[in-house]
Symmetry: C2
Amino acid sequence: MQSGGALQWRRSLTRRVAINPPMKFCTQCGSAVDLLIPAGDNLPRHVCGQCGEIHYLNPKVVVGCVPQWEERILLCRRAIEPRYGLWTLPAGFLENNETTMEGAARETLEEAAARVKVTQLYGLFNLPHINQVYVMFLADLVRPEFGPGTESLEVALYDERDIPWDRIAFPVVEQTLKLYFADRRQGRFAVHTGDIVRLPGPERVFEVRMLEV
Amino acid sequence: MQSGGALQWRRSLTRRVAINPPMKFCTQCGSAVDLLIPAGDNLPRHVCGQCGEIHYLNPKVVVGCVPQWEERILLCRRAIEPRYGLWTLPAGFLENNETTMEGAARETLEEAAARVKVTQLYGLFNLPHINQVYVMFLADLVRPEFGPGTESLEVALYDERDIPWDRIAFPVVEQTLKLYFADRRQGRFAVHTGDIVRLPGPERVFEVRMLEV
């Protein structure tokens, strides 16, 4: 066992960056796995040379929301990597045995100490380069009470004109906010679907492709 | 190495039933894992007693579509367990490095040998009792050409009046079809969000809770 501090560090790193280190050993028998295409399949999988177990790795779901209070929305400033110090909407990995709406509300409670009522699905965004699917909801704060959870430096309600556009943590959050304010001006919130893909190369350049209905 | 046949059987079982057998050994060092709540966390995780790695298990995404051709929709009769011989919409687990729309089209090609153009997001359904999130799209067949893939006994286009309601494989498929035909009668396809939860007990009884906007 490592110390609590080391575990805490590992947890933040593993959970929030969603690093899935390459599988080396079988979860069922502890023997070494090989990366190969099983019979009847068409993609390489981690297969145990000893017990034959095939291990499937699949994308993870990130759930979050746009928490609303009157004309303002709640943003959190990140106290963890990646993108330490930048602003984001509350969001995090969906857990087993919870629904996406429950997960969005839980993340808002954890990161912003705020209770919300989820009102509608708002966006489904594919981030295939990091194997994540973001599911974003609209939500109403139950009360105008909030504060920084352990993963936030600060939490604040923002009017549209004050949104720190040049300090938003993630493209998927920026896209969600852009769509949100555009919809609000039109007086109607649609449900949006699209891909947000990081282009190859050292620069952080992303391509947004929305599925327009 | 086991024989191809055994691997094939294991694959069908593991992949399609989404059995995730309990983790016993660390994927990084092959040592035994313990189920415990790491410091700073609030849920039990599989933690390696040797190298300290924390393993997170999260829900999987199932992607599928309602493939449309003129007034009819395409259904597949399952050639695999569970629910062998019953009818379903093409759907399956989202793979790493693909988008949900790509996955829905791929599953339709694999299960029904049909090419589709995905047109809109149609439903997001939580199945928390089996740790799955279904993402269903509407899609148009590119051509009226289809046939059974290896996981289907037969594939057919159905008019609404001929849908085999008493032989639909899964509640999530039944719910998607009900919403689809109700929307079609109204001349407008919304995006639906809800939970489909199996109630405790030996009977296959499900509760459907839609998030109404």
